[in-house]
């Protein structure tokens, strides 16, 4: 569920918002519907990993990967698909960590509430 929500919302919002919107969305989504820490991290990770790689491919393939190839040489990675993989992993990590934080944030809040009730 987390996976599909993040994927769709980020896909839509990225048309207008800057790249770091993925942090906000992953955090919020996992903060609201994240079931476990594991789910929060990995589903966020793969949602953005796939979204970014998919969208990059959608842009790059019709361009015969010309630009991706040049930028890959510029960054020292050399191969365009390796550059894409690095992009996917980095963005996935950002989203994953943010999702995990979102989940932990809710847990902390819930714990606090429970503590207050007991007290």
């Amino acid at each position: 569920m987390v996976f599909i929500v993040i994927l769709i919302i980020c896909f839509l919002l990225q048309m207008i918002a800057p790249w770091w919107i993925i942090i906000v969305i992953s955090f919020a989504t996992c903060g609201i519907i994240g079931k476990t820490g594991k789910i929060a991290f990995w589903q966020s990770f793969f949602a953005i990993f796939l979204l970014w790689i998919g969208y990059a491919l959608f842009k790059s393939l019709p361009n015969d990967n010309v630009l991706a190839g040049r930028v890959a040489v510029m960054t020292g990675i050399k191969l365009w698909w390796a550059l894409l993989l690095v992009t996917g992993i980095l963005s996935g990590l950002v989203a994953g960590i943010s999702g995990y934080c979102g989940y932990q944030f809710r847990m902390a809040m819930l714990a606090k509430k429970t503590d207050e009730k007991i007290a």
């Binding site: 361009n63 015969d64 010309v66 630009l67 040049r70 930028v71 890959a72 510029m74 020292g76």
Partner: protein, 760 residues
């Protein structure tokens, strides 16, 4: 096919831009204003970052983008007076209503395009280097033209020459650095009569001054920025109409230096290449005429030794009294730092470039404490030359267009449908006494000032010479009978000689014969030197690899073709030989000098086998020419063997040379791959590592002119576009594209991929 629409407020009438299958724009406008407006718009669309970056570089504003690491670059540009010159030049342009209209419309077009951009669609390099486009201004057009002057006419050897004169005395200097080459094949054919009575030449002053020296290393004179052009009269072509060819050699870059364009409006229909940042077509053709340019190595840059009253530099000695300097403050913005305010002192000659030697390679030939007199500081209006050439119909129009031109001086080649051909080394040349500016000049004595100008009509020129062709390859403009002094040294004669040899032998020339000539790799240097050097080699002392290399050389056809192993050996061999002969005397720490020319070196090898210069003064032994030749040959073979192992295909000339086209800002990955192609600076196909024919053009005049051309790059400046470098392979293979010279926006004879309609 795609149809686009755009609105530009400043447009007077409807404009249509048609893009052909190489993305070359063909502009159809109803008036001149709209024509240049659209040229600005479409050039910015393809090349905005390049235009912006080049003019920032010219203006000494790179530190704004990259921080204080570029500070010496910026200081150099400012202190050489680039902005000062551009401002003066702009004054000249704005004084002419036509030029003013052109520049303002062009500027308006560029800014109209910039206005459509949001941050997300800035050209890629802005994002990588993290800066943003700024509005275009007319002075940027002037800066761009000044930068061309800087590239082509900033060469100056007088600092070196003065040091040589001081060290070796006048006799040796005269002997090693003669005022006319040993072998020459001048642009204006030998024996051409001068049909004017020349102005009196200013008297040579009796005194001679010498300069102080700084601490920099000697550099060999770099050859490579040069060009070829020629035109054949109809008597030598198959069609009976003239053929004109041009290939300007420059430091190659991506995005391409040139931008192809067709400009069509009432009174004009011209096709050719433009410089991104300047309106009009620089090299091209129209229905009636074709023209091209190569550089003239005119001496239009001089240094004057200045005697200041005191260290405040407020006054200097001139004509027996103290004269005040003026100050110009140059504010250099530095990214991530405070602005730097650099004060430049101007004498009536021009700016005093340096008071202290900077640590910057390009400034090596600038003497400290001296004032710079440079033609690029003068008011000028080169744009009008191109305005009139673009609209020219005949020889008279050509002659009229040339009168507007100041700098950088160019050999303007011309052909018309009336079967006229002509060539004119043209520019504004100072009226000088002989050798004025060969050495640093005395800034205190008015006799050393520039005394006036050679009248434009008296610039060397030839029309329809009996040999049936005209040509130039940067060599001496004339034989020794020309009454005025233009310079004491020009580019070596070999390319010009090869061109003239081939054109003399040519009859019924066609496109193909001319195209093959442009990619001719035959070396006159090798033709002159190989027979003289081979007998000096001592066969017994060579090892196996060296013997094998010698066998290649003996069989060599003297062509710098891609797969010639002998060319690699010969190139390193002769370079080393020149070093062996001259380095011991001419590389002295603290006294920057230069080597004698290749022409003089060859003359000495052929005619003076016992010259004292062969002896290496740093050894006790007495070396002969043969010793140096043998050492150099072994050095060449050994260095190739160290790099590539025993002789194999890695020794191929193309592999040794490594021709490639780098990105303008040297961003890795944004340049071309290494190209396996031949050519060498001394051959017609003057292709070095990253320097060579930046545009090859052949025009067949006729009922409808047929244009052919290619450059190493593409129309688009976007590294992600397939039009960024789509022409490189065609260029590398020595082929040309047929240029689509459209007669109307609906011309069906070529392929059109999209249209852009502009309205108010």
């Amino acid at each position: 096919m795609f149809n686009h629409k755009a609105k530009i407020k400043g447009a007077i009438d409807k404009i249509e831009i048609v893009f052909d299958d190489r993305m070359i724009p063909h502009i159809f406008a109803q008036n001149d204003h709209d024509l240049y407006l659209a040229q600005g718009y479409v050039t910015a669309m393809h090349r905005l970052w390049q235009m912006d970056f080049q003019t920032r570089f010219a203006a000494g504003r790179i530190s704004e983008v990259v921080g204080d690491k570029a500070i010496e670059v910026d200081r150099y540009q400012r202190r050489m007076g680039m902005v000062y010159g551009a401002e003066k030049s702009l004054k000249g342009m704005m004084a002419d209503p036509k030029a003013k209209e052109m520049i303002l419309a062009y500027t308006e077009g560029i800014n109209a395009y910039i206005k459509t951009l949001s941050k997300a669609n800035y050209p890629l390099e802005y994002k990588i280097l993290d800066f943003k486009p700024e509005n275009w201004t007319p002075v940027k057009c002037a800066l761009l033209l000044k930068q061309m002057s800087a590239v082509l006419a900033m060469g100056s050897d007088e600092f070196y020459m003065t040091n040589i004169l001081k060290k070796f005395g006048p006799e040796v200097t005269k002997n090693l650095f003669p005022d006319y080459p040993f072998r020459e094949d001048p642009i204006i054919p030998v024996g051409t009569k001068w049909d004017f009575s020349p102005l009196p030449i200013p008297k040579t002053p009796e005194s001679f001054t010498q300069a102080q020296t700084g601490e920099v290393k000697t550099t060999e004179k770099v050859e490579g920025i040069g060009s070829n052009n020629w035109a054949l009269s109809g008597s030598k072509t198959a069609s009976g109409y003239p053929i004109l060819a041009n290939d300007p050699h420059l430091d190659l870059t991506l995005p391409s230096i040139w931008y192809q364009i067709q400009l069509h409006a009432p009174g004009v229909n011209t096709y050719g290449v433009s410089l991104p940042g300047a309106p009009g077509v620089i090299i091209g053709f129209n229905q009636k005429i074709a023209w091209g340019v190569t550089n003239v190595a005119a001496d239009v840059l001089d240094f004057y030794q200045i005697k200041f009253k005191d260290s405040s530099h407020n006054e200097y000695w001139y004509n027996n009294k103290w004269k005040a300097t003026t100050k110009r403050l140059e504010t250099i913005k530095i990214r991530g730092g405070k602005d730097e305010i650099d004060t430049v002192y101007y004498t009536h000659h021009g700016p005093v470039v340096y008071f202290q030697k900077p640590k910057y390679g390009r400034a090596d030939n600038v003497p400290v404490g001296d004032a710079l007199r440079w033609i690029a500081h003068d008011e000028s209006n080169e744009l009008m030359t191109f305005y009139y050439l673009n609209r020219g119909k005949n020889y008279n129009d050509y002659r009229k267009a040339l009168t507007f031109y100041t700098a950088p001086a160019q050999n303007f080649v011309f052909a018309s449908i009336d079967n006229d051909i002509a060539i004119t080394p043209n520019g504004k040349f100072p009226l000088k006494w002989k050798d004025q500016g060969k050495f640093i000049l005395d800034g205190t004595d008015p006799a050393y000032d520039w005394q006036g100008w050679i009248p434009n009509a008296q610039n060397p020129t030839v029309k329809n010479p009996p040999r049936g062709f005209v040509s130039s390859a940067n060599q001496s403009s004339t034989d020794t009978t020309y009454p005025y002094y233009i310079n004491w040294e020009f580019a070596p004669y070999e390319r010009g000689k090869r061109i003239n040899d081939r054109l003399s032998a040519m009859n019924k020339a066609t496109l193909d014969s001319i195209r093959l000539m442009q990619t001719d790799n035959y070396s006159i240097v090798a033709q002159n030197l190989v027979p003289a050097l081979l007998p000096l080699l001592n066969n017994e002392q060579l090892n196996a690899t060296q013997k094998e290399a010698l066998a290649y050389l003996k069989k060599w056809n003297k062509r710098y073709d891609a797969h010639e192993i002998a060319a690699s050996v010969f190139e390193i061999w002769t370079k080393r030989l020149s070093y062996n002969i001259w380095a011991d005397e001419f590389e002295v720490k603290g006294i920057p000098m230069r080597y004698p020319s290749r022409d003089r070196t060859v003359e000495m090898i052929l005619k003076e086998p016992n010259a004292t210069w062969y002896d290496n003064i740093k050894t006790s032994k007495k070396e002969s020419l043969s010793d140096l030749v043998n050492e150099a040959f072994k050095y060449s073979c050994d260095s190739l063997e160290r790099r590539f192992g025993p002789i194999n295909k890695d020794w191929d000339w193309a592999n040794v040379k490594q021709t490639n086209v780098p990105h303008l800002a040297k961003i890795p990955g944004f340049g071309s791959k290494v190209l396996q192609i031949g050519g060498n600076k001394g051959t017609i196909n003057a292709l070095n590592e990253t320097n060579g024919p930046s545009w090859r053009m052949v025009i067949e005049l006729g009922k409808t002119p047929k244009g052919h051309g290619v450059y190493p790059g593409g129309q688009s400046g976007n590294p992600g576009s397939k039009f960024y470098d789509n022409m490189i392979d065609t260029w590398a293979n020595g082929k040309l594209y047929d240029l689509f010279y459209m007669q109307s926006p609906d011309d069906q004879s070529g392929t059109v991929i999209s249209r852009l309609k502009i309205s108010k």
